[in-house]
Symmetry: D3
Subunit: 254 residues, 6 copies
């Protein structure tokens, strides 16, 4: 099985972290490839940046979807996920979605815990978009700045453990989703120091992508995620314009 | 008062329709200018196209926001609205938002009625994003294709009147929002043939933009729509990158 | 355009404050007249008083609605609003409704902030009646008594600023609706001292009344706000009984 | 135990029907007295009439509450119920409330079935006010006019049976609340002809009033139904003004 | 009228407390009998124990339902209530259900207050199952252990009073449901020391069982609580298997 | 990895169907074992039967959980799932839960489609228990009886395809969960004849059990699914009583 993990941010270091975490738990026969956005911001934390990252993710998928059995949009907040799901035939999942849905099977309510206050508004919109507010015990953020997005996991791990435990003690959370691509791989390092199960989003994502690919779901020809009819456009990337127009392009050739 | 109406679609004809409808009801001292997206699709009907249109709207705002007291993102579905609201200091409203909120003052529940089935999924997500599901009596679409987006209003007006009345007869709707930029100006032509009040989104939008501009709201320095901190980026339009980085660019000069 | 602002309380001083605030932002061609309830309480703060004030507002509207293009029920809590909307042909809006819906266009969630604990229960019911709970970050009240309802704004302004900022700091509110007719005009005086945009309900109301009047919505002949069929009554004011019975009375002559 | 049943409509015939139905199931030691509104409309079917009826109910309670252990506001829609509950010390219940809550103990979802389309909007608002939308499978009304409110029960009973059964067949309802004071006493006559349990609101109301009176609940000195502080008023009935002002009046002497 | 009160726990002492509280307020002509589970745990506090207690309650009902006009499942959390309601013809109510619905008639929102933290998760699920989350101001539990379930009421009464008052002071609760069979009878002892009305669940339950029995509701032949079709089984108690198979067994003879 | 699939019904034939479907998509290194309830009914379709089946599932888990990395309660409706999750240390998932959560990643709203009307009430409660009502486009059932539970899949497959397509055509569903253990394996046979993706619950369950086992979540020591404190009981199976009492029993030896 071949899975594409797309980092809609521009940080190659984060792409590596995500892939490492996913590879630690994926099936023996899964081949994981990665792609990193060529434009945008180092890490998505706002609604504006989610639009930019969503655009980048769609362009990457337009170029490469034909080579894979499933794809992961590997930023919490799932930029472009709904668009990708309507536009392409392979299963596409998001980091937030798979983290939250996996957490749902380990308890009643999950809390989302992340490393920076700036991420709150967009993460909250993401929970709502997924219709999971009834299962969510809040999005909780550390305050304060950090030195480097690549190393924020190490810098903040002690504070994150503390925040996780205080969120649980305040009531309402049965599990915790460690949110944000920079935190990939952290859950297994700190699992014994937090009072409820932790979900690593990269590991949840690879497991879910595998599960969906094995189900071999047929494409929708009806419903709200059926592929839209062909449409002309102007000014878009060659591959994306072709996909929207229902024209064929060769993979990697655009 | 100066207001910018942004059409995030590429159809100049629709831009003109929108402006005409708005000018028919705006205040004597309001100056309305328009802008049309330079890339994307003729009319937005999918999640994918909403990301593209949202990007286009943000780029236009980045270039021109300083010249205006308020702005309107003039496509139903409000592409890029949340992003625009967090990124810029002037009030920015959307066609869907203003149509629906205005309808709220004319009855309990509003129905959204539009001209093509393809618009349903994205319009439904828009209602949910605005937190207005408790006030919405459904999104209702005509089936069937149309000849030209520029003239769909004339082509479909009889069918739309019929659909409006049947939606009301089936129960639940106290008002109807005629949705989709191509329908701008229709409400006043058919108002006497529908059994509940109709809302013209372009006219609602200009009224709301004027009201907000007159309130002169202070910018948020807190809350989920405070302006995000400065951030580097790569590969974005000059004006948008500058706005994200908290740098100044001259209007129209990017 | 002619707009009637009805104060369903008996305080003439509050009527004056409301009109002053509205006149500061209304359109050049708008004529604003006011009316004050001849019976009831100085300011409405309970469910009981809302029934009394609603009755008073309906009687005033029954006498004067024919002279105006739109009307405002100028008490937060909107006593009698639903009744007025079903009974009369002109657009009628409420102070709470217009304040909250206007706030919706300046951010995601609004908090309601007011000057006395006694107002909480009724204001909360008002938010729910409007179906806006999904957008509301709570009704927040000052504790403690006040000297005079006419001057409570000046007496409490410092405490209100503090409460607004603490409500925002505690999280969840993107804007604040300054609630209660006695606070009309306060927003613009303190706008620079609160961390999110403030909405002045009297100014929101006049803007919304103008917008609705310009849309010239047709009367509903269907839906839950269609005018009820004629009915006999006994013991009601002449004008109200006539309106309920679908009989004509001359304006001002009852 | 002494219970007061208040008909906020002006129809004495309906008052009698209500009392007869209640007396058929009340406890041996309960004394039931009735009161009928001296002004207003023959039967409440609109938001406007609910304000009028609520005012009438409050005035009756102000005069007579001291003589009783509990009171019933005997119109579906419960006009003035919230106000009565905050203003008086004895338990006060409504016909709609007790019908719906009793139905909750006989199944999952209840449908509300009534005799005229005009009643729909106000009944729906009543369901929402009680926070029971999650338990309600809709408000269903007969179409068509009727000859006399006093005899509408007999005139429409066959149509009501048919509507009840079709509502259940269409799915979602486990019980049916026969709504509207004119239908008091009907449930037991037709119980064998409807496929789910029927609730007679007058009988539910007397049972609930008895249960509450036996619990002897203390008055609230906190919470949103605590008695409001004393307040001056003008132009109100003597007894109501006295109650609002925390002054004593002799029962029946106003 | 004959009513069966079933304690699905194994504590005879609690059964006695429940019966004493109910007898203090029941009607003169009501005969109350009790039954205590022969297997399971001394008091139900978890989801696991609720399944065990639900099974025990169903077995008792299968043996004895024919002797009674109504039955009460007398553990907060209402184990087996939905099953009992679909399987038997007499009205069956639960302690939680009747406590909460009765509280609904004394104010807007009720809080649930109980004596041990272990009860929280199951009680919260019970509130949700009843569709009463919109009326519930939270489930609040004492921390700390207790000496004996039979005497926990006396041991904890002072702490419970304190918790009730602090829950009200923190806002949102208009009434309090004292939850858990071991607290039966406490409400009337402490009613003057809590700032909002208290509901005794055993007393609410007996009142509701009487009210339902007097309504003599017909059995449902449709809806989601119609009696299921006959079905074979293996390994169940004689009476329960017979009831599921639509076979007759003699009361008390299994 | 070792996974236990528990059929809480007594039909061995269904157990075999479930295992076959799961084995078709599980990972190469997964070992799947099965267990079938020794008492209860051939297939669970009511609330009563869900309690019985939940009891049976808990007893099986109490005996065998120590041998496995994860377990599946393999009946749609997930009898005993919440109890199992709080009582045992390994991940336990349900057929309904995993079918619905997997469907969430293939579209916005899923419909549940099953083979008999009797299943509706319990399945609807299951959707609500999981907090997934916001994602569910209804539970849809075939009418009519069937010959044998073991062969109902073959008997009804044409009718089920038709129902699936009509549910989608009526709007609202993006995916379909084929619900009920007897339908295991059907999805891949009919996938090309239904207009939206189908989810096979047995295949979703095995994928989710594998994903959770690979995450190796720590046990909760806090939150609503922490293991309850030790408690005495009487009359329960040896293994279940031991687990509740925090005592050790040897696997398979009870």
């Amino acid at each position: 099985m071949r899975i594409l993990m797309i980092n809609p941010n521009t940080s190659e270091g984060i792409t590596q972290r995500l892939a490492n975490a996913a590879r630690a738990t994926m099936s023996a026969d899964t081949v994981l490839e990665t792609a990193t956005a060529s434009y945008g911001v180092p890490y998505i934390s706002t609604r504006t940046e989610a639009i930019i990252g969503g655009m980048a993710a769609l362009e990457i998928l337009a170029e490469r979807h034909m080579e894979f059995d499933a794809a992961i949009i590997a930023a919490f907040g799932d930029p472009g996920l709904g668009a990708a799901r309507e536009l392409f035939d392979i299963p596409v999942v998001g980091l937030a979605e798979t983290g939250m849905l996996t957490a749902c099977m380990l308890g009643g309510k999950f809390a989302v815990v992340t490393f920076a206050a700036a991420l709150g508004p967009w993460y909250n919109e993401c929970v709502a978009w997924h219709g999971l507010e009834a299962r969510c015990a809040g999005v909780h953020m550390l305050n304060g700045s950090f030195s480097s997005i690549d190393d924020v996991q190490e810098e903040k791990s002690e504070q994150l453990i503390k925040l996780c435990n205080s969120v649980v003690a305040d009531g309402g959370a049965d599990t915790i989703v460690l949110a944000g691509a920079p935190l990939a791989g952290l859950a297994e390092l700190v699992r014994d120091r937090v009072s409820v199960p932790l979900v690593d989003c990269a590991q949840a994502a690879i497991g879910q992508a595998e599960t969906l690919a094995r189900l071999r779901p047929a494409s929708a020809s009806a419903g709200s995620f059926r592929r839209p009819a062909a449409k002309p456009s102007k000014g878009l990337s060659t591959a994306l314009a072709a996909r929207i127009a229902h024209k064929t392009t060769l993979p990697h050739s655009s």
